[in-house]
């Protein structure tokens, strides 16, 4: 039934909006924003994969003495969360590089417009 897959489809729509911005826009900052949007969309997709209806965070509080199996039956999947943490960090790393490049490009070419930069490349 398609309603069950609706959140995945909306995450996919976000992915393609980000892809559109990266492909169609000419301004460096817009391209960087497109990559950030793409990262948000893929992280969201991984998050939706791990959810279990009625699930709680996979963290045991000192108070509960429920058995391991019962805890496992009630909690959300921790593995996609670990993947997303790694993906957020990788996204931050790429952003740091892109912003550094954008600043140096602006310093050397004086503009953020990729078409003018490609002409002036020399």
């Amino acid at each position: 039934m398609t309603l069950g897959v609706l959140p995945y489809v909306l995450a996919l729509v976000l992915t393609f909006i980000g892809l559109y911005v990266v492909v169609a826009k000419k301004n460096i900052i817009k391209i960087i924003l497109g990559v950030i949007m793409l990262e948000h969309a893929v992280n969201l997709f991984l998050l939706l994969l791990g959810y279990r209806s009625g699930g709680t965070a996979p963290i045991r509080s000192p108070g509960d003495t429920v058995s391991a199996e019962a805890f496992a039956a009630g909690s959300v999947d921790p593995l996609p969360q670990a993947l997303i943490l790694t993906s957020i960090v990788i996204g931050l790393g790429c952003l740091a590089l892109m912003v550094s490049l954008a600043l140096r490009l602006h310093e050397k070419f004086g503009t953020f417009d990729m078409t003018r930069i490609r002409e002036l490349r020399g």
């Binding site: 909006i17 948000h40 969201l44 996979p58 999947d77």
Partner: protein, 190 residues
């Protein structure tokens, strides 16, 4: 249906609208702010779907990204006069992306539906082992940290290296002079 489905769909709609505004906004600063809003929406969805670690990390990283981008854009946004929009290229890009979106949506219908992942089924994958044996074998109450730093610690070594490399890369790109002295005829631009 699932109690959290309607708030989730509302937040997803908010994120999609935010992304569209960020894509089409003329002024760079408003685009940056819109992307910040999309990130904040994602942080709230993290809380909704039971991922507090991610919510903290997402919020703080989002704040840092938006601060960096605003500093970059603050004084350099006067050059946003759009070069003439060649509608043919934009149209063809939209067409291709539309076809790809349709095909992937059709392919996604065969996934396990939202809310009933493999973990909830009778043959759970590796995540069931992490949940049942996490506290006993690693002693960590936070199973996400148990996965990150004990079961799959090698991944986290890679991750720490990613941060290290991107920072050293940023230093390398931002240093004052690239080449010290040049071969004859290969002078720097200015």
């Amino acid at each position: 249906m699932d109690p959290i489905l309607w708030p989730l769909l509302a937040l997803l709609a908010f994120m999609i609208i935010g992304s569209l505004i960020a894509a089409e906004a003329e002024d760079l600063l408003s685009s940056v702010v819109c992307v910040g809003a999309v990130g904040a929406g994602l942080a709230i969805i993290n809380l909704l779907l039971g991922a507090p670690d991610l919510a903290i990390t997402q919020v703080v990283v989002e704040v840092l990204c938006v601060v960096v981008l605003i500093r970059v854009v603050l004084t350099r946004r006067h050059e946003t006069q759009q070069t003439q929009k060649d509608t043919l290229a934009v149209g063809s890009v939209l067409l291709v992306l539309g076809v790809l979106l349709a095909v992937s949506t059709w392919a996604m219908t065969t996934l396990h539906p939202f809310g009933q992942p493999l973990l909830a089924g009778d043959r759970p994958g590796v995540a069931y082992q992490y949940l049942t044996r996490g506290l006993a074998e690693t002693g960590a109450a936070n199973h996400v940290t148990a996965v990150l730093l004990d079961y799959r610690a090698y991944d986290t070594l890679g991750e720490a290296t990613v941060i290290f490399v991107s920072i050293m890369g940023a230093y390398a790109i931002l240093r004052r002079k690239g080449r010290i002295h040049h071969a004859p005829g290969n002078e720097p631009d200015r």
